[in-house]
């Protein structure tokens, strides 16, 4: 296998540098009500790692002092962090585009139902992962009963205007393959999701993002145990698309972990590869000038973002042919 940096050299794209910081992504904790088979964070209900009020406050200050277009909140299940509510209301008052990556099914639970109101009231954009529009495939990855609970919450969100044109309330879905293969083109899958969700579930959403499963965390364990690891790596490398490099997510994002440490992306968090810009890699020493022209820390896992039409938290990176 050719190393990722060598591959970048071959297409004259090495070294990989940040271009700006447009997205401020916060992973607010590893605790989750689910234990999905593909989760790169390997989140569980037992995890104790949650972002503190002090770190939230430090993040809020950085956001206020900078003009990032988007605040992107992920986890674990972000709702399981007790400080999320207050943080969202503070950010919303500043009018900053704010995304929460929710598994939605947590909103079925009584103690978390309040977030439906919080999201609606503050115009929070919701991104929710639904691996497949068919019950059996999704439940295979996410656990029995997930699909129905997910659809129940989508129905509630639709009633509030989420996923409906003109409401201003955005519900985007995420597709990731249920197995050791790459996602197809986003328009093709979005069309299929829309057809099935509308006809079979009377459920509606705005857009679908396709995300390639990264060979780390629980998905790596699955690849190993199922004998797919070597072929999956080969598939990722063979599908390397130089056209994705320009728009790689790490080039316009800074990723914060629950302790306030800074990373190039959520995957580097899991691999414990903090930013390499020569300054303190923590929100306490946040330095925009250095960070927005930093050298990105790459590894072979980066093939996951450059395969095919590319993959990011916002879906595909390169235009379909």
């Amino acid at each position: 296998m050719t190393g990722f940096d060598e591959k970048l050299r071959q297409v004259s794209r090495f070294p990989l540098l940040a271009k700006a910081i447009d997205i401020f992504q916060m992973n607010v904790g590893k605790r989750c009500n689910l234990q999905c088979r593909h989760c790169h964070v390997q989140a569980t209900p037992a995890h104790r790692e949650l972002m503190s009020a002090e770190t939230f406050s430090a993040c809020a200050k950085i956001i206020e002092n900078n003009s990032f277009s988007t605040v992107d909140i992920t986890g674990g299940a972000p709702e399981m962090n007790p400080h999320l509510d207050e943080f969202l209301q503070g950010i919303a008052r500043k009018g900053r585009r704010t995304i929460v990556r929710s598994n939605l099914v947590i909103l079925v639970e009584k103690s978390y139902r309040k977030f439906i109101d919080i999201y609606e009231k503050n115009g929070i954009e919701i991104i929710a992962s639904l691996p497949d529009p068919r019950r059996e495939k999704t439940d295979r990855q996410r656990g029995d009963g997930f699909f129905q609970s997910f659809i129940d919450i989508v129905h509630e969100l639709n009633l509030r205007g989420y996923g409906r044109e003109g409401s201003g309330l955005v519900l985007n879905l995420v597709h990731n393959p249920v197995g050791a293969y790459l996602p197809a083109s986003q328009p093709a899958l979005e069309s299929e999701y829309r057809r099935r969700m509308s006809a079979e579930q009377q459920a509606f959403f705005n857009h679908l993002f396709c995300i390639t499963n990264m060979p780390i965390g629980r998905f790596l364990t699955y690849l190993n145990q199922s004998g797919n690891l070597t072929e999956y790596w080969q598939t990722l490398e063979n599908a390397f698309n130089p056209g994705t490099v320009e728009n790689l997510m790490c080039r316009n994002t800074i990723s914060i972990d629950w302790t306030g440490a800074l990373f190039d992306c959520d995957f580097n968090q899991v691999l414990e590869l903090p930013v390499n810009h020569g300054l303190p890699a923590h929100v306490s020493g946040f330095d925009l000038d250095s960070l927005q022209q930093r050298l990105i820390r790459t590894g072979d896992h980066c093939y996951g973002c450059t395969a095919g039409l590319g993959s990011s938290c916002q879906g595909e990176l390169a235009a379909s042919e």
């Binding site: 497949d132 068919r134 597709h175 393959p177 197809a184 093709a188 299929e192 063979n238």
Partner: protein, 110 residues
């Protein structure tokens, strides 16, 4: 030569252009257009390609198009229906030739 039909052979397929550039490039341009969404969707064309791959016994194409079906969210049951369509066509093509046999028999037998 270690084995025929090795999986890694598929990676070499685009490189056939090296030995006949113009024809190779024209083939791949045609192949790309013919298998991309047009009046038929990408899903429909991919299922057709899978059925043809199975009927033509091409392990490379079966591999490529099974993976593409999975990527497109096509279920195993839908793939199997497509392969049955191909199998039925092959059986039908075989049996339709029995009409030639019947015609000759009718002509020749007293």
């Amino acid at each position: 030569m270690a084995d025929y039909y090795e999986k890694k052979d598929l990676v070499d397929f685009p490189l056939i252009v090296e030995d006949a550039k113009e024809a190779g490039e024209k083939f791949f341009a045609y192949y790309s257009q013919a298998t991309s969404a047009g009046l038929l969707s990408e899903r429909e064309k991919t299922l057709i390609a899978l059925a043809v791959a199975a009927t033509q016994h091409c392990p490379y194409c079966i591999d490529a198009y099974t993976n593409k079906c999975l990527s497109l969210g096509i279920s195993r049951q839908e793939m199997m229906e497509a392969v049955h369509t191909g199998a039925a066509m092959q059986a039908g093509v075989t049996l339709a030739h029995a009409t030639q046999m019947r015609k000759i028999c009718t002509q020749k037998e007293m």
